[in-house]
Amino acid sequence: MFETLILILDATLRVSTPLILAALAGLFSERSGIVDIGLEGKMLAGAFAAAAAAAVFGSAWIGLLFAIAASVSLALIHGFACITHRGDHIVSGVAINTIVAGLTVTLGLDWFDQGGQTPSLTGDARFTPITFPFADQLADVPVIGLIYSELLSGHNILVYLAFAMVPLTYWIVFKTRFGLRLRAVGENPHAVDTAGISVALVRYRAVIICGILCGLAGAYLSTAHNAGFLKDMSAGKGYMALAALIFGKWRPIPVLCACLLFGFLDALAVRLQGVSLPGIGEVPVQAIEVLPYVLTVLLLAGFIGKAVGPKAIGKPYVKERA
């Protein structure tokens, strides 16, 4: 029983990682007032770029750089449409998601000739698990051994990075000057403008950070969690990250909890497939899979707390001229 629990939690960490990275990406963007439903597309683009570059250059790190580059370029397109040309944030996000869904397969087929997939990656082209010191020796120690060697040790660097990003995000958003400005442009851009700070510049920085984090999430999917790119491999994780962002009320620590909860439900659904629980019978997998979305809707409806987003979210900022 204990071992099963550890295994589920272990899977939870792995499944949550892309959610955490993407949700934090969304946090930077949305805190600055830019709605981003393009998390999905940026993540998918990152996954494709990472796998393609890793396959060509044989290095996961070069793949990571390409993933970030691809994702940041899309973020800049989003910024160009929403910040510079005051376009609709949702339309722009949908456009990015659609373009990436088609483009990754089109380019994949042209470059690798494997029906839109990238070649499967081995060795240095993937991020490999990091084993903590003494993890193997401690594995037999009761309770602690299992937690240390199975749950904490043995993940790849991106998993640890994702978790490290949470306090870092908290620090940037709530303890630095940039963070104050970031939150201010999302709440009251006029005030920021009056203070002599460029609203557009702060928002552009925010979408670039968003792009970097989505690129990391994408690279995790194709070069760490899996060994190569598959068509539509982000499979709605970007939207689930968006749900987690709302569920966590746009704050880093609650967002982390939401991501872990959603990840746990995902891991549980895999475990419970075809398992009959005593007293309840067989729980349909779909019922667990659907919980994150249902919970988010309930939260949005105000049935479990209240989610209030940044005040100026989704509104283009028009500088007043005398």
Binding site: I77, D88, A95, I96, V100, G102, T106, G236, Q286, A301
Partner: protein, 365 residues
């Protein structure tokens, strides 16, 4: 800068046209990037879509779905709402159509089943849109997020129902039994055959006529009823609407019901017209494509029909294209679709200021 001085042909003709041309130009670059000649590819596309009878039939069949979802997105746009849940509403609408067909196919004639299924599909689609609409109108939760969530919920629900309840016996894959022929919407080629016209076998069926009727319905509703006036007022200026005594929440709910109903009719075309059984993923992205259709069609029924035909042609032509040039996937059509959304939706203001300024200066001189 006053809008009134800019000639109408510039704002409804020239600027949208420029945006779409730009989208196609960038699409051409994508073709160049994968080492194909865009002109040659366009030739295959056009031939595949319009060059022969079956091709035209397929184009119109795809267009049927896109008209439904395009109208669905558009009617919500008119009221200032973004219904991104067309996909889920179409899915559940199809479930409604399928259930009615499964229940009545051996007991009722087509003349009774068809209207029942159409109403059923629309009702199921509308019901799926009702919850997000209610939450937006009464509890202030953002409709974009809730409709996205409802797409996923619809998808899980369908998998559950198909796998556990509706799957035909003795089949591995989750599809229902095939309906009796009394629940098949007649194909256009079967309708035309007795009159001596041979239009080639294609999935084009009577649902296309239903789609055109929906366009007329949309036009009459939005521009020629009191209620349509309310809808447009809410979309243009919700505060003014409220002062004028319009119940914004009520309008929101009604608009979403109509939007969901229109999206649900995709099920009539797909389930009753073509597949003749219930299956998974028959919506195939039409809900999202509807956004491109609505944007490109400038939220007008005639524009939507034209845009739906264009995208239908891209779908069909894309299939032909990938057949002629195996290194190209039909997915390239999705790229073009996305670029159209980007340039005629998100970046619609890119040229607007400059071009309008040009005309205003000319008018002033």
């Amino acid at each position: 800068m006053s809008q009134a001085k800019v000639p109408a042909w510039v704002s409804v003709g020239l600027i949208p046209l420029l945006n779409i041309l730009l989208a196609f130009l960038v699409s051409g670059l994508v073709f160049l990037a994968i080492g194909e000649d865009p002109i040659e590819a366009a030739g295959y596309l056009v031939y595949g879509a319009f060059g022969y009878d079956e091709g035209i039939g397929y184009t119109l069949y795809y267009a049927t779905n896109l008209i439904f979802t395009g109208l669905a997105v558009s009617v919500a746009f008119k009221a200032g709402l973004f219904n991104i849940g067309g996909e889920g509403q179409a899915y559940i609408g199809g479930l409604g159509v399928g259930l009615l067909c499964l229940w009545f196919d051996s007991s009722l004639p087509l003349l009774v089943i068809a209207p029942l299924a159409i109403i059923g599909g629309a009702l199921f689609g509308a019901a799926w849109a009702y919850i997000p609409a209610y939450l937006q109108a009464r509890r202030g939760s953002h409709i974009v997020i809730t409709t996205i969530m409802f797409n996923f919920i619809a998808s899980s629900l369908m998998v559950y129902l198909m796998v556990n309840w509706l799957k035909a016996e003795g089949v591995m894959s989750p599809i229902s039994r095939t309906f009796e022929e009394s629940a098949w919407l007649p194909y256009m080629h079967d309708i035309f055959a007795p009159f001596g016209f041979d239009i080639g076998d294609s999935p084009l069926n009577l649902a296309f006529v239903l789609a055109l009727l929906c366009c007329v319905f949309y036009w009459a509703l939005v521009w020629h009823t009191r209620w349509g006036y309310q809808l447009r007022t809410v979309g243009t200026n919700p505060t003014a609407a409220q002062y004028a005594g319009i119940d914004n929440a009520k309008v929101t709910i009604w608009v979403m019901l109509i939007s969901g109903g229109l999206a649900g009719l995709v099920g009539v075309n797909e389930i009753m017209g073509v597949n003749h059984n219930l299956l998974l993923n028959f919506t195939a992205g039409y809900g999202f494509a509807g956004i491109a259709v609505a944007l490109m069609g400038r939220n007008h029924p005639i524009g939507i029909v034209l845009a739906a035909m264009l995208f239908g042609a891209l779908y069909q032509g894309g299939a032909e294209l990938s057949f002629e040039i195996p290194t190209i996937t039909p997915e390239i059509v999705v790229v073009i679709q996305g670029l159209v959304i980007l340039f005629s939706g998100a970046l619609e203001n890119m040229f607007k200021g400059k071009i309008e300024g040009l005309f205003l200066r000319k008018a002033a001189a």
